[in-house]
C-alpha cells in the first residue's frame, strides 16, 4: 500500500526536524436485517494519511484524504507552517525517542479470507435466522448485523521505522425484543456487537447463530414473565459478557495515563487514580489479576505495534489486586514517569493517537461456575450488559444487565427482569470473592469505545472469566 510515496516521504523529511506518515486503508462491509427482511447494506472504503510534522520541537498532526502527490505536499506544507506558528503555545516538547524504530511486516488475516463470504450468503442467512426469531410468541422485532472489516497501515518515520500491519475482523450482533402486556424486554447475543473478533471469515459461524436464536427466544420469554429484580445487598455473580463492561469502565478508563495527566478533563473526564497510587494502591482483592494482552488469539484489539511504532507486549497492570502499571503509550510514559504499555492508538488516519485500551483482560482463577453458585447463600447471577453509566473520575457506577437468575441456598432459581447494580470502583473490586477458572473464560469486544477531543471511537477487546462479588447493591426497573 502507498509505497509509491516513500520517495516523497524521503524528500519531505528533509524539510522539517522530524516527520512520520501513517497511511491507512480500511474496508468495511456491513449488512443489517430486521424481522427477516433486508434493512441496510453499507460499505466504507476509508483511505487517508496522517502526518506528524515536527518543527522547533513542536509536533503538529496534519491529515488528508487527498492521496495525490499535490494533496500530500499541501498537507505537509500546512503541518509545517502550523508547527512554526503554534510553537509558543505548546505544552510539551516532542521527543523522537517516543516513536519506535522498528522495520516490520505483520499480518493477521485469519484462516479463511473475508472475500470468501459473499453478500448474498450473509444476507440470506440473516434473513433465515430472522424468520426463526419472528416465530417467538411475543416478539415485536429482531435485528441481525454482520460486519466484515480489513485494515492495513503503513507507518514511516524520519528515524527509519517502516511498519506494515494488516488485520481482518468480523463483528456480529443479534437481538430480539418482545412484549407481554405492559412488559417490554430485549435479549441479545452477549450484548451490542460483543462478538467482535480478529481473524477471517471463520469468525462467522452461521449455524451457531441459528442455535443462539432458540436460546434468545427462550430467555426472552422467561424475562417477559419474570418479576422485577429485588432491591438489596446480594452476592453478585457476573458472566464474562458483563465482566467485559465492568473491566472496561472501572479498570480500563481510570488507568489511562492521559486521563491521569488531565488531557481528557473537558470530555471523558479525569481519574480517581493518581500518579502516586502506582505500586501502592490495593485496587482489588488478591484474586484480581489484570493484563494488557495484545496477542490473545481472536481478541479484536490485537496488534504488534501501536501508532507510535512501539512494540506491544503482554503486561500486567494489576497483580494480586495491587496496581502496578497504567495504560499509557510512550509519550504518556515520558510525561508522567510511570510504567505503561504500547497503546498510543488513533481511530483512523484523520485523528491523532491518544492512550486507548486495546485488549484488557482479567486473568482466570480457580473456581468453576458451579462452585461459585454453590458457595452463594443469597445472590444473583447477571448476564449481558444493557446499561452503563459512571462518573467522570470513574468512581460511582451503575450498570444494568439483560438477564438474571436468583441464587438461593447454593442453587440457581427464578429469573428476574431489569437487573441493575451499583457501587464505587475500589470498594467493588475489593469485594471480589471468587474468580472463575479457564472453563468460564470468554473473549468479547466492542467497536465503540468513545474518547478524545476531537472525538474518536476505537475497537477494544475484553476477556474474562465469570466472577463473584460479595454484598453488592442490586435493584430492578421502573
Amino acid at each position: 500500500m502507498s509505497r509509491q510515496w516513500i520517495g516523497l516521504f524521503q524528500e519531505l523529511k528533509k524539510e522539517c526536524d522530524w516527520l512520520s506518515f501513517r497511511f491507512l486503508n480500511e474496508d468495511s462491509k456491513a449488512y443489517s436485517t430486521r424481522d427477516g427482511k433486508v434493512e441496510e447494506a453499507r460499505q466504507v472504503f476509508d483511505r487517508g494519511v496522517m502526518m506528524e510534522v515536527v518543527v522547533d520541537g513542536t509536533l503538529v498532526y496534519a491529515a488528508t484524504s487527498d492521496l495525490s502527490e499535490a494533496g500530500l505536499r499541501a498537507c505537509f506544507k500546512r503541518g509545517a507552517m502550523r508547527a512554526k506558528q503554534l510553537s509558543p503555545l505548546k505544552l510539551t516538547h516532542f521527543n523522537p525517542k517516543s516513536r519506535g524504530l522498528y522495520q516490520a511486516q505483520k499480518a493477521n488475516l485469519g484462516e479463511k479470507k473475508l472475500e470468501q463470504l459473499t453478500t448474498s450468503e450473509i444476507v440470506q442467512h440473516q434473513i433465515k435466522v430472522g424468520e426463526l426469531l419472528k416465530k417467538g410468541p411475543h416478539v415485536l422485532s429482531s435485528q441481525l448485523t454482520t460486519i466484515l472489516l480489513s485494515t492495513e497501515t503503513l507507518y514511516l518515520t524520519s528515524d527509519g521505522a517502516e511498519i506494515h500491519q494488516e488485520t481482518a475482523m468480523t463483528l456480529q450482533d443479534m437481538r430480539v425484543t418482545g412484549q407481554k402486556k405492559a412488559t417490554i424486554q430485549t435479549r441479545s447475543d452477549h450484548g451490542y456487537m460483543a462478538r467482535s473478533k480478529q481473524g477471517g471469515a471463520e469468525g462467522i459461524n452461521t449455524d451457531f447463530l441459528g442455535m443462539r436464536a432458540d436460546t434468545l427466544i427462550r430467555e426472552l420469554n422467561e424475562m417477559l414473565d419474570a418479576p422485577d429484580c429485588p432491591t438489596g445487598k446480594l452476592d453478585l455473580l457476573l458472566s464474562p459478557d458483563q465482566m467485559m463492561l465492568q473491566i472496561h469502565e472501572s479498570i480500563g478508563h481510570p488507568l489511562e495515563i492521559d486521563r491521569i495527566l488531565g488531557d481528557e478533563r473537558n470530555y471523558a473526564g479525569w481519574s480517581f487514580v493518581k500518579k502516586e497510587d502506582f505500586g501502592k494502591l490495593q485496587y482489588g482483592s488478591p484474586l484480581m489479576n489484570v493484563s494488557f494482552d495484545p496477542d490473545l488469539k481472536g481478541e479484536i484489539a490485537s496488534y504488534a505495534y501501536d501508532d507510535s511504532g512501539t512494540e506491544a507486549q503482554k503486561t500486567y497492570l494489576i497483580q494480586e489486586g495491587k496496581l502496578l502499571a497504567g495504560l499509557g503509550g510512550s509519550e504518556s510514559q515520558e510525561r508522567s514517569g510511570l510504567a505503561g504499555v504500547s497503546n498510543f492508538r488513533a481511530q483512523s488516519w484523520n485523528r491523532a493517537p491518544i492512550d486507548r485500551m486495546a485488549n484488557l483482560n482479567l486473568e482466570p482463577g480457580s473456581s468453576s461456575l458451579d462452585e461459585m453458585i454453590a458457595q452463594t447463600e443469597r445472590g444473583i447471577y447477571m448476564q449481558t450488559n444493557r446499561s452503563w453509566s459512571i462518573d467522570d473520575f470513574r468512581n460511582k457506577f451503575q450498570f444494568g444487565c439483560e438477564y438474571a437468575r436468583l441464587i438461593e441456598d447454593g442453587k440457581l432459581t427464578s429469573v428476574v427482569k431489569n437487573p441493575n447494580y451499583r457501587g464505587t470502583t475500589v470498594a467493588y473490586w475489593n469485594a471480589l470473592k471468587a474468580v472463575g477458572d479457564p472453563s468460564t473464560f470468554e473473549v468479547y469486544g466492542t467497536p465503540h469505545c468513545g474518547k478524545g477531543e476531537p472525538n474518536q471511537v476505537i475497537r477494544v477487546g475484553h476477556a474474562s472469566p465469570a466472577c463473584l462479588f460479595s454484598q453488592i447493591e442490586v435493584f430492578g426497573g421502573a
Binding site: 433486508v38 488528508t64 484524504s65 422485532s141 488531565g262 478533563r265 453509566s389
Partner: protein
C-alpha cells in the same frame, strides 16, 4: 484579527460537475444519490492552558447510494481535490456496487430517490488568527487551568441525486468547548459562533470565574434521597438529549424501543409546562435530511405535556403506512427546542429554596428504557442551596429518575431564559447541529449514590 479563508475542499460547482458526470453513466434502471461531507478543520486541544495536540485536517467524504429494481446499497469513500481522479475513483466504486446490488434481495420498505428540490445556504468562513489564539493563551488564560478543544474551519454538506435534487450547505462555525479547574473541581464553559470576538470570550471567562470562586469552598457530601433540584439549561439539555435515543421515533415506538411509549400511546402525560419542538428556524442546521427531503421549519413534538407528533421517516411511512414528516432515517431530532417558561433568572435560587443546583450532568443512560428511567451523574459546578442561598459545592451524586416524573408531575417551572447549545460532537467528522433549552426546576428528584 480575522482572515477570510478559502475552502480547500470541493466547491458547489465542483460537486455538481462530478455528480452530473457520474449520473450520465447510469443505465435506465439505476438511480444514484451522492452525499458530500467535507471539512477543512483545525482541532486544537488544550491542557493546563497550553496546546496539547494540534491537528489540521482536510477530509472529503462521499456517499454513493445506488438503487436498482427495488434494491439498494450505500458505499462511503474519501476523495481528493482533482476532478479527473475523483471521477475515475467514483466510477470504479459504482461498478463494484453494480455487482453487489444484484446479490441483495428486494427491500420491502424501499423508498425511491425523488427530486425534493434545490436549496443552497452559504456562510462565509472567517478564520481566527494564530495571533488571537496566542493572545488567549498568554493573556486571557494567565493563571487559569483550562482543558478543552478549539475547533474551526469550513464545513460542507452537499446532496444531489440522478432525478434532479440538489442541496448545498456551507458553513464555517467555530467552537471553544472548555473546562476551568480549581483542583479537582471545575466549571464548564463554551463559546461558539461564526466569528471569534476577543472581548466576548473574555466576558464568558469572567462569568465562569464567578462560579469557579464558589467551588473553592469545601465540598459537602449529600446523602442519597429525593431533593428539590434545579437543572441549569446545560443540565436540562443533557436530559432532553436522551430523547434523541428513540424518544420521538415512530419506528422505535412500534419496536418496543421508545422511552416515551406511554406518552405516545396516550397512557400518560408530561407536565403542561413542557413543549418540545423540532425547530430549524435559526438556520444553523440544514433542513434537508439524509434522503434530501426538506423537514418543516417547525414541528411540535410535545405540546403542553401531550405527545402530538413523532418523527416519522419515509421508510417508516412505507412500512407502517403512516404519513412521513421529513424525519431522517434514524428518526432522531436534529434541532430540538424546548420552549421557555416563566421563572426569572433572579428568582431561581429563591424558588429552589432548599435543594440542589446542578450546572451539568454527565454520562446519562437509560436504566430502564421502556420504563422511561434515566441514570447519570452530576458534574462541574453543582451546589447545595439553603433558604435561597448557595451554601457549598457538593461531592458528585448519581441520580436515577423516571422521565415521567421529572418531565411530568415533578416539573415545577422552566426558566424564562433559554440557552443555545451548538453541536460539539466530532466523531468521524464534525457535525452541524444545535439545541435550545431553558433551566428546569424539579421537585423530588431521586439521587441514589
Amino acid at each position: 484579527m480575522k482572515n477570510q479563508t478559502r475552502q480547500k475542499h470541493l466547491s458547489h460547482s465542483d460537486f455538481q460537475s462530478l455528480s452530473q458526470s457520474i449520473y450520465s453513466e447510469l443505465s435506465g434502471d439505476e438511480s444514484l444519490a451522492l452525499t458530500l461531507s467535507a471539512e477543512d478543520s483545525k482541532f486544537y486541544r488544550f491542557n493546563e492552558s497550553r496546546l496539547r495536540q494540534a491537528t489540521e485536517l482536510t477530509q472529503i467524504g462521499l456517499q454513493l447510494h445506488l438503487q436498482k429494481n427495488r434494491r439498494q446499497i450505500k458505499v462511503s469513500i474519501f476523495l481528493g481535490v482533482s476532478s479527473e481522479e475523483n471521477k475515475e475513483h467514483v466510477l470504479k466504486i459504482l461498478n463494484q456496487m453494480r455487482a453487489d446490488i444484484n446479490e441483495l434481495p428486494e427491500d420491502p420498505y424501499f423508498v425511491a430517490h425523488q427530486n425534493y428540490g434545490v436549496s443552497s445556504q452559504i456562510s462565509e468562513p472567517i478564520e481566527t488568527s494564530i495571533a488571537t489564539l496566542e493572545k488567549i493563551c498568554t493573556e486571557q488564560l494567565k493563571g487559569l487551568d483550562l482543558a478543552g478543544l478549539y475547533c474551526e474551519g469550513p464545513l460542507t454538506l452537499g446532496m444531489s441525486n440522478s432525478v434532479g435534487l440538489d442541496h448545498w450547505f456551507e458553513s464555517a462555525p467555530f467552537f471553544f468547548d472548555y473546562s476551568l479547574f480549581h483542583g479537582f473541581k471545575a466549571v464548564k464553559g463554551g463559546y461558539a459562533g461564526a466569528e471569534f470576538v476577543d472581548h466576548k470570550f473574555s466576558e464568558k471567562l469572567a462569568e465562569n470565574q464567578i462560579f469557579l470562586e464558589r467551588l473553592k469552598k469545601p465540598s459537602m457530601k449529600i446523602a442519597p434521597g429525593k431533593y428539590r433540584t434545579y437543572l441549569a439549561p446545560a443540565a436540562a439539555n443533557e436530559l432532553i438529549g436522551m430523547l434523541a435515543w428513540g424518544g420521538f421515533s415512530y419506528a422505535a415506538l412500534q419496536r418496543g424501543q421508545s422511552s416515551l411509549g406511554k406518552i405516545f400511546k396516550n397512557e400518560a402525560k408530561l407536565s403542561p409546562l413542557l413543549t418540545i419542538e423540532e425547530n430549524f428556524e435559526n438556520g444553523l442546521v440544514p433542513r434537508f435530511n439524509d434522503l434530501g427531503e426538506l423537514s418543516p421549519e417547525k414541528m411540535v413534538l410535545i405540546e403542553k405535556g401531550v405527545g402530538v407528533n413523532l418523527l416519522t421517516s419515509s421508510r417508516s411511512s412505507v412500512e407502517y403506512k403512516v404519513k412521513s414528516n421529513g424525519a431522517s432515517m434514524s428518526e432522531s431530532f436534529r434541532s430540538p427546542k424546548v420552549l421557555a417558561g416563566t421563572l426569572e433568572t433572579k428568582d431561581i435560587l429563591k424558588e429552589l429554596h432548599t435543594g440542589l443546583y446542578l450546572s451539568n450532568l454527565h454520562y446519562l443512560n437509560y436504566s430502564d428504557m421502556p420504563g422511561g428511567r434515566v441514570t447519570g451523574m452530576t458534574r462541574y459546578a453543582c451546589f447545595w442551596v439553603e433558604n435561597g442561598e448557595i451554601i457549598a459545592p457538593i461531592e458528585d451524586l448519581r441520580f436515577d429518575e423516571s422521565l415521567y416524573h421529572c418531565l411530568g408531575a415533578g416539573l415545577i417551572a422552566l426558566t424564562k431564559e433559554t440557552e443555545h447549545f451548538p453541536e460539539t460532537s466530532t466523531y468521524f467528522s464534525r457535525r452541524v447541529g444545535t439545541s435550545e433549552c431553558p433551566g428546569f426546576l424539579i421537585d423530588q428528584f431521586t439521587f441514589t449514590l
